[in-house]
């Protein structure tokens, strides 16, 4: 691979967005292979630390996706997720550690395979535009 390809971590809730990713497969919808999906029971399970850890581990982008409002398998976990996410996002923007275009949030139901593939392409394009993430990678201390 000569061209740089970003690596993106996606935290998908088991009930909706992970199902949509599965259905995108069943429907053979194509999108680039940059995303590494981590299944979580609910988007409410996503601790802001996970997002930071992903960037620290070399991810160029992070995507969190849950059920539509009102459709959460756990009643309202997705709403808490959104609140945490909004807070983190504005903080990251403020500190400048993570540039805009790297962090994404969406609602995708388990029937919305097309939307999943579309959003996936959108996320990948945005992260590609932002370029390789360098600010936050954990590096070995340089030895003189």
């Amino acid at each position: 691979m000569s061209e740089w390809e970003p690596k993106i971590v996606a935290f998908l809730c088991n009930w909706c967005s992970y199902g949509a990713a599965d259905l995108a497969g069943v429907s053979r919808l194509q999108y680039p292979a940059n995303i590494r999906i981590i299944r979580v029971p609910c988007s409410g399970r996503v601790n802001p630390k996970f997002i930071l850890a992903a960037f620290r581990s070399g991810a160029d982008g992070v995507w969190v996706s849950g059920c539509h409002p009102g459709d959460c398998h756990y009643i309202e976990g997705n709403l808490y997720a959104r609140r945490k996410f909004a807070l983190l996002n504005s903080q990251l923007e403020y500190t400048g550690i993570v540039e805009p275009g790297r962090l994404h949030f969406s609602w995708i139901s388990s029937a919305e395979a097309t939307k999943f593939a579309e959003v996936a392409r959108g996320v990948i394009d945005a992260v590609k535009a932002a370029g390789p993430a360098r600010h936050f990678i954990k590096k070995q201390a340089e030895v003189a």
Partner: protein
């Protein structure tokens, strides 16, 4: 795919006869990969998308279908295949040709016919006569398609030569090199036998070569098809006459194990008239043979060919080409009876050959030993003979003489049996044909088989080919010593019911022919063959009669070997105690409304079609486009009540109850989906949003989303000339006519019972009502007319999803009550080995990488991934499997766990959402804790979505696998906590809902505490007169109350209130207070049925004038038989008193029906009285619409008013004056009733405290909120607490009863167990780290975290659902989520 045929027996012991329809795909093997659908050539409209998209004959109804396995739609055997003597999958190769898949098509043909290029020219194609397309216009030109496919192969660089299965040593002799012999040799060669074909003539092909002229069948074609057989290793020996040069006994000695006698019928039958021995009489077959072998034959100019078959046609046309200037046909019947192919007769006539019909030769007249003339006689047709053709009869005295140079008799052939020397034990028939078993073709000498013309007399090429194939099967079995007959008797019955309407007429492609002028000069082929375009067009005319074409492409594509084309319908009998009928409804077909022109205008769609257009998984992936041009519409209209509330177009005098709400929903979603400003208008009569929270949705749609609501019934839809747009003309309420144009019109179609369901009801002996819905009573709403059969859903009556789900649970409860004594008697416990203790062990991971046939390995380098896994930390074992989910891999996995002492498993395959449970079960069987498992999703989320980039997909698969391994090593064995259940129920509220719930649970054998606040059971029903169906409520109530009071399992507490609740599901402790001392009740579940009450209004002079009363007050007067009601001259009802108002924006659901009932009752008491109903929307939903119809018939007057112009009620001069603006006249009208009834709202009882006790929420109107409006309508989010009756929402008595049964049913699912097992994936707190901030306690929707006596948060595993919300929110990091712990997720993140 199963149908109920019959139910016999009695409640508690039914015997049900089922017909299980064939699926043609083995459910247990299908992996749902869809390869079968990918290769299937048969295209069908997709019913799931309402015909807006296409699917294949091999299909899955929709992507998320359960089970996820595919099935094949096959209605039977298509007429072409059934009719073809060789039973070639005709529809199959036609379908493949239609897709341009010619080599697959050829292979398919060659499964039954090794001579397709020959057959494509000379077959008499009975398939085309049977072709159903002929009923539409003309049959498909099947034979020409086959010819094209075959010619293409013969002309290609490498011809298709079938694979030889396994070489065998046995030798077989085939006597005769005609089509039968060649076919037999071909299929025996495929089986591996050493085959020698002996042919008497110097050339191969039999009649093909020496009987059929080369202008019909060019020699190079015959030679080419035989060359394929030479390439297969078949030996040909021409010029060898069996019986003379070699005998059967000699061949037997040489080691030939079997013989196929396919000697044909090459001897011409004689005419049996004088003069046949004259020179110039040349038997037809001999003539053709000699010409075809290149002999010079001189006949003279005038040649009389006698006969009407193909040999006669061939002879006469050959004579023409051989130099005779005037050959002609003499045939004794008319042209319609001629057995020759129609084309041949046609071509004959084109070539100027005369056909003398109804003429028969009497004698041949000679001169000098040579033919000079022939004397003929005229014939006429009499009655039909044994063959079905009309018998020719001589017309006496019609003899005449014609001068001729030669006579060619061609009236039939017979066989020469010189090959049968004495050692053969074969027998011949009286007609000189070989006597054989018709199925196996075995003769009386067991190693001799025979077929073709030698057995049947002169017949067709395809029949000889069919016999050749059957003989090959018999000979193979004979040599292998297998039973010759087994499984071969098959009835080839074509399907009869094939739809032939609705197709456009498309003429059959015409075969290009050599110009007649160019033909007679030589022996060039006359029929020139189709070009590819013609073949594709022609093949697409096929109607796919049996849907599946039996092309067998799926069989090859399915690596899991799941396709079973031989699958058959199976009859099964099951014994059951109760039956629940839920066959549903069908959407109304609006083609009946001719003025809506649904079938004419593509942009008029049904609401069901519109649902699919809006659906993310629909034909347009949720993009809102209209069908005609796929443009986004700008204006969409909905027309309500299509097929509902209509006794003119259809006999549907009911309201379908759901269409108003779905139309609003569709309008709102359409607006969300459209990119611009979408104008949406709903044309309606009454807006019926009577469901819970529906009125709010309606208001929002109108006020916030801008959906327009137009009160008008639209008469017709007109096209807008020059566009695909549509025009709607309608009258407004005031009578002015308006016109509007729309891009799309949606018909909101209603419900109806399908004819098939009416039939089913007949078989089940269930009574249906006038509307064809199931007959039930309000008091037993889910009991069908036949005891022991329960009903639910739209079959019972039209209804929406929440009510259907309620009824489904209710039906389950009713069945449960009936069968309570048998509960648990058929339960089988799974035996599991003791669990291995792996705590403290070093992780030893086993990795299984799946190929999923080619679904993964077609893209991802599976072996590479497997090898990569080997080097990952803690991995001890790796393997790759064709299907990791197959049974044999489960065995491999169990053995690997044992042998390699594995304590963690990773499967890299499809998705855990479908397959995790399967692998976990295998682990449990091997004694491993099932939570020590992880999957890497390398199919759905990798190979399937990155098929164009194998390199990156493989990289991704490695990453996903590495992540999974990094997580699995950190997983720990989890225990599933068990909790004992106190098998008692507490019901709060003693109204009808509470009592029914109590009785239903008690009937299932569980003790019930029924707590009622007042001093009497009955609740609101005590004040109600009749149900809408006219049933007496008080009688029912008395009986219900008695049965509850007397029930041995029910303890009733009257004048009792609940003061405290502790505990959780399975173990509640509720304190009740009845006067003095509190009492504590212990129970496992609780049902809240606290009911509601009638609103007491402060408007319309209520309370100030005795003539103004509420519904319940009027009911009481009916019940008391108040004589004054007979004297009411004018009665007025005002609707929506306190409902659908800004401060109470919900519809009370029951008031409209109640008003109609009371209005009719008043009319009954005094038919001369004037009854007025002042309403906003009349909501007599469902079958209650009948009341509205009847009220109007009886003269009840309906006046509509708006919320901003409500009626005014005054008392003037002792008179009650009601003033309301008439909606039609737009003028105030003044009524002076002596009875004014207010249809007042229904309010919930005060239950705030109770809600807090059980931690269950209520909405802003005070009604309790269920866990999910549609899916869990009687449950709370809090486990073990259930809901029914008016406490949920206003509802009529029948719906309360159903909901109470449903709540009881859901409660019984917990009560039926002594213990409940919970998932091991729950959150746990670390007491040392907990800072007691209460975040977890506050945010958990299930109330699982609580403070313990030390003030630290503790999570009840019985209530925890494992969502992880508290874990992600804990500020102290004090909570862990088992199975999805921070450490495990971090490990995955670090390994991306």
């Amino acid at each position: 795919m199963t149908e109920v045929q019959e139910i016999s027996g009695e409640p508690g012991d039914f015997s049900v006869k089922l017909i299980e329809k064939p699926r043609f795909i083995d459910l247990s093997r299908c992996t749902g990969c869809g390869e079968c659908a990918r290769v299937c050539p048969v295209v069908k409209k997709n019913e799931y998308d309402m015909g807006l998209s296409e699917r294949r004959a091999a299909f899955r109804r929709y992507a998320q279908a359960v089970p996820g396995a595919f099935s094949i739609e096959k209605l039977g055997i298509s007429p072409c295949k059934a009719t073809c003597p060789a039973h070639i999958s005709v529809q199959g190769y036609v379908a493949l040709a239609a897709e341009g898949r010619y080599s697959e098509a050829l292979k398919l043909v060659k499964e039954q016919n090794p001579l397709p290029a020959i057959c494509g020219r000379v077959c008499h194609h009975p398939c085309e006569s049977a072709c159903k397309r002929g009923e539409v216009d003309e049959p498909v030109a099947i034979d020409s398609i086959k010819r094209f496919i075959a010619d293409l192969d013969l002309r290609s660089e490498t011809r298709y030569v079938p694979e030889i299965k396994q070489r065998r040593e046995e030798k077989v002799a085939v006597i005769g090199g005609g089509p039968g012999g060649l076919t037999c040799a071909y299929y025996l060669a495929i089986e591996g036998y050493r085959v020698t074909v002996f042919e008497k003539l110097p050339v191969l092909g039999g009649m093909l070569r020496v009987g059929i002229p080369s202008y019909r069948l060019p020699r190079d074609i015959i030679e080419a098809e035989i060359q394929v057989m030479r390439d297969m290793g078949i030996e040909f020996r021409t010029g060898v006459e069996i019986g003379k040069d070699v005998t059967i006994s000699m061949l037997r000695k040489e080691g030939y194990k079997a013989f196929f006698m396919a000697v044909g019928a090459h001897e011409c039958k004689i005419l049996g008239i004088p003069g046949e021995d004259l020179e110039g009489v040349y038997p037809g077959v001999n003539f053709l043979r000699d010409v075809n072998l290149g002999k010079e034959v001189k006949l003279g100019d005038r040649v009389a060919v006698v006969g009407g078959g193909n040999v006669a046609m061939d002879a006469v046309r050959t004579a023409l080409r051989n130099g005779s200037s005037k050959p002609f046909i003499i045939y004794r019947r008319s042209i319609h009876e001629m057995p020759a192919n129609e084309e041949e007769i046609e071509e004959c006539q084109e070539e100027g050959i005369e056909i003398m019909t109804l003429t028969n030769p009497k004698r041949i007249i000679g001169e000098g030993g040579r033919v000079k003339a022939v004397e003929c006689v005229r014939m006429q047709l009499g009655a039909p003979d044994a063959s079905g053709r009309r018998r020719p009869e001589v017309i006496p005295g019609s003899e005449f003489i014609m001068e001729v140079d030669a006579v060619i008799p061609a009236i039939g052939q017979e066989s020469d049996w010189a090959c049968l020397t004495d050692e053969c034990a074969c027998q011949l028939t009286d007609w000189g044909t070989m006597r054989v078993d018709p199925l196996t073709l075995q003769s009386h000498d067991e190693d001799i088989f025979a077929g073709g013309d030698a057995v049947t007399g002169p017949k067709t090429v395809i029949e000889a080919i069919a016999a050749g194939k059957q003989a090959a099967i018999s000979i193979d079995r004979f040599i292998r010593g297998v039973d010759l007959r087994e499984g071969r008797e098959k009835e080839w019955k074509a399907i009869e019911e094939v739809r032939t309407e609705g197709y456009d007429r498309i003429p059959r492609e015409r075969m290009p022919r050599l110009a007649p002028g160019e033909r007679t000069s030589g022996f060039d082929e006359v029929q020139l063959g189709f070009n590819e375009e013609q073949v594709r067009k022609e093949a697409q005319r096929c109607l796919s009669c049996s849907v599946c074409s039996e092309c067998y492409q799926c069989v090859e594509a399915c690596l899991a070997n799941a396709v079973v084309h031989e699958d058959r319908a199976r009859e099964r009998e099951v014994r059951v105690g109760a039956v629940i009928a839920a066959p549903g409804f069908q959407p109304f077909d609006p083609t009946l409304y001719d003025t809506y022109a649904y079938s004419k205008f593509p942009n008029v769609v049904t609401s069901m079609e519109f649902e699919r257009i809006l659906s993310a998984s629909g034909p347009t992936q949720g993009h809102l486009v209209r069908p005609s041009d796929h443009r986004e519409p700008k204006r969409v209209a909905w027309l309500q009540c299509v097929g509902s509330r209509d006794i003119h177009h259809c006999d549907h005098k009911y309201c379908s109850g759901v269409c108003c709400m779905y139309a609003i929903k569709e309008a709102v979603i359409a607006k969300e989906h459209s990119h611009g400003d979408l104008d949406t208008a709903i044309f309606f009569m009454d807006m019926r949003t009577h469901g819970k929270d529906f009125e709010r949705y309606y208001n929002r749609a109108r006020d916030q989303h801008g959906v327009r609501f137009v009160r008008s019934r639209v008469h017709s839809i007109e096209p807008v000339p020059g566009s695909d747009d549509l025009e709607i003309n309608y009258a407004t309420e005031t009578g002015t006519v308006q016109s509007e144009q729309f891009d799309m019109v949606v018909l909101s179609v209603g419900f109806e019972t399908a004819n098939s369901v009416v039939d089913l009801a007949g078989r089940l002996d269930l009574k249906l009502n006038d509307n064809l819905f199931c007959e039930t009573s309000s008091f037993e709403p889910v009991s069908g007319s036949r005891p022991g059969i329960f009903v639910c859903g739209a079959f019972q009556s039209p209804k929406d999803i929440p009510q259907s789900v309620v009824e489904a649970s209710a039906a389950a409860a009713a069945a449960g009550s009936l069968l309570s004594s048998a509960r648990g008697s058929l339960v089988r416990e799974r035996e599991l080995p003791p669990q291995l203790n792996v705590v403290g062990e070093r992780p030893r991971v086993g990795v299984f990488v799946c190929h999923c046939g080619i679904n993964i390995s077609g893209v991802v380098d599976v072996k590479g991934v497997r090898d990569y896994a080997r080097d990952l930390p803690f991995v001890e074992y790796v393997s790759d499997n064709l299907y990791t989910c197959s049974q044999d891999t489960q065995v491999v996995m169990r053995e690997a766990i044992e042998e390699h002492k594995l304590n963690r498993i990773v499967v890299a395959a499809c998705t855990p959402r479908t397959h995790e449970a399967l692998f976990q079960e295998t682990m449990s069987d091997a004694g491993l804790n099932k939570y020590l498992f992880e999957m890497a999703n390398i199919r759905n989320q990798d190979s399937w979505v990155h098929s164009t980039n194998p390199e990156m997909a493989t990289e991704k698969a490695k990453d996903l696998l590495r992540m999974a391994v990094s997580k699995v090593v950190l997983l720990e064995p989890l225990q599933e906590p068990e909790l004992s259940v106190n098998q008692k129920a507490l019901i709060i509220g003693g109204g009808v809902a509470g009592m029914v719930a109590a009785r239903t649970i008690a009937d299932q054998g569980y003790p019930v505490f029924l707590v009622e606040r007042s001093d009497r059971l009955g609740g609101q029903a005590l004040s109600l007169f009749k149900t809408w169906k006219g049933e007496d409520i008080q009688g029912y109530l008395k009986e219900l109350t008695r049965s509850v009071m007397d029930h041995p399992q029910i303890t009733v507490y009257l004048s009792t209130s609940v003061t405290n609740v502790e505990g959780f599901v399975g173990n509640f402790k509720t304190t009740i207070l009845n006067g003095g001392t509190p009492e504590v009740l212990e129970h496992g579940v609780a049902v809240i049925a606290t009911g509601g009450k009638e609103h007491r209004p402060t408007e319309y002079l209520y309370g100030g004038d005795p003539r103004v009363i509420t519904h319940q007050e009027l009911d009481r007067r009916f019940m008391n038989g108040d004589a004054a009601l007979k004297d009411v001259r004018t009665a007025v009802f005002i609707q929506c008193v306190g409902s659908r108002e800004p401060d109470r924006p919900y519809c009370s659901r029951v008031c409209c029906s109640h008003t109609l009932e009371s209005a009719l009752e008043l009319k009954k008491l005094n038919p001369g009285s004037d009854v007025y109903v002042l309403y906003r929307d009349l909501r007599s939903y469902g079958e209650r619409e009948a009341l509205y119809l009847e009220a109007r018939r009886k003269g009840v007057m309906f006046v509509r008013f708006n919320l901003d112009d409500k009626p005014k009620v005054e008392a003037t001069d002792g008179k009650l004056v009601v003033t309301v603006k008439d909606h039609v006249l737009q003028r105030p009208i003044r009524l002076t009733p002596d009875l004014l009834t207010l249809a007042t709202a229904i309010l919930p009882n005060e239950t705030e405290e109770l809600g807090q006790f059980f931690k269950v929420p209520a909405n802003e109107d005070g009604f309790f909120i269920e866990a999910h409006a549609k899916l869990r309508p009687v449950e709370f989010a809090t486990d073990g607490v259930f809901l029914c009756g008016l406490a949920h929402y206003p509802k009529p008595l029948d719906e309360s009863v159903a909901q109470a049964q449903a709540a009881a049913s859901r409660a019984a699912t917990l009560l039926a167990r002594q213990t409940i097992q919970f998932s091991g994936m729950v959150a746990v707190t670390n007491q040392l780290l907990c800072s007691s901030c209460a975040t977890c306690v506050n945010i958990c929707p299930y109330s699982a975290p609580r403070f313990n006596d030390k003030g630290k948060a503790e999570i009840n595993p019985a209530l925890c659902k494992g969502c992880g919300l508290c874990v992600a929110s804990c500020r102290s990091g004090a909570i862990r989520l088992r199975g999805f712990d921070d450490a495990q997720i971090f490990a995955m993140i670090e390994n991306i």
